[in-house]
Amino acid sequence: MIRARPLFIWLARLAVAAVFLGACIAKIRDPEAFALATHRYRLLPGGLVNAVAILMPWLELTCGAALLAGPRRGRAAAAFLLTAMLLVFTGAISLNLIRGIEASCGCFTTRADAAVSDGWNLLRNGALIWLSAAVFLDAFRKPARPEIP
């Protein structure tokens, strides 16, 4: 019989890893366009925009790979970082929506004709935060080896 909880955690790992491994491709391919997308949030000092655009996609790639194929400790750290990133992204998109900035989120594509961010982005991120946090808690709480009573 298949137990529901491990299956859920495995599917959540798969989903979150797939999202981030897919999301990093366009950003790695065109860092200049991603830098512009990052700049459009108007949250970072100009001097940090390029550094974030250069490093962020690789953090997504590294964490996505660790989540998919890493050991338990690696999965916990990857899920922790991805949850933190998702919280930051969601806050940034929310701010853009509040300020009425008609920019795309820059999440999966850096093309200029990408859809403008809306409430759907927040819903999607909320679901991803839930999945990522579940993976993190599962990996973080699980002991590395059976503990001696």
Partner: protein, 174 residues
Amino acid sequence: MNLAGSRLPLRRAAQLALDSAMLLAVAGLLGSLVNTIRPETTRLPWVSDWDRHIETLAFRAGIPVTFLQGARQRVGDASTAILDARSSEEYAAGHLPRALSLPVSDADRRILDYAHRLTPDTPILVYCGGADCDDALELAKRLREFGFRDLTLYPGGLAEWREYGGDILEGAAP
């Protein structure tokens, strides 16, 4: 009191911090390495002067900015006036559908040509050649001085519009 038990979460938190730092370091190394070895055409400098970017200047000037999707929407909306801030010759060579020519260098005089079409509350989209030109921003500022209140800058301009397959019309201003 089980001291070993109370230390366990702390130990795990320390492990988590260490593992997270390792992932950050790996990502940092990969990002730096790839950015160094990638072709110069796609290499990004670690620092650019974003403070002089046209969108930053518009933001500071209080001129709202829109991007391709917003520009498409406004071009399709007959109530929005589309103003081309480039020279008349550049306008004649190609411009956005429904765009009117209002070169920034001659705005004070040419704005009178459109006095019957524009009111202070008319939504106006201004553009120029692309992200490298500031004519549209300068025109937007000038129009604001004239009393127009609903101004939006399209920084992508004609270059982006063309790149993404938007219709381009040719011919001199009517």
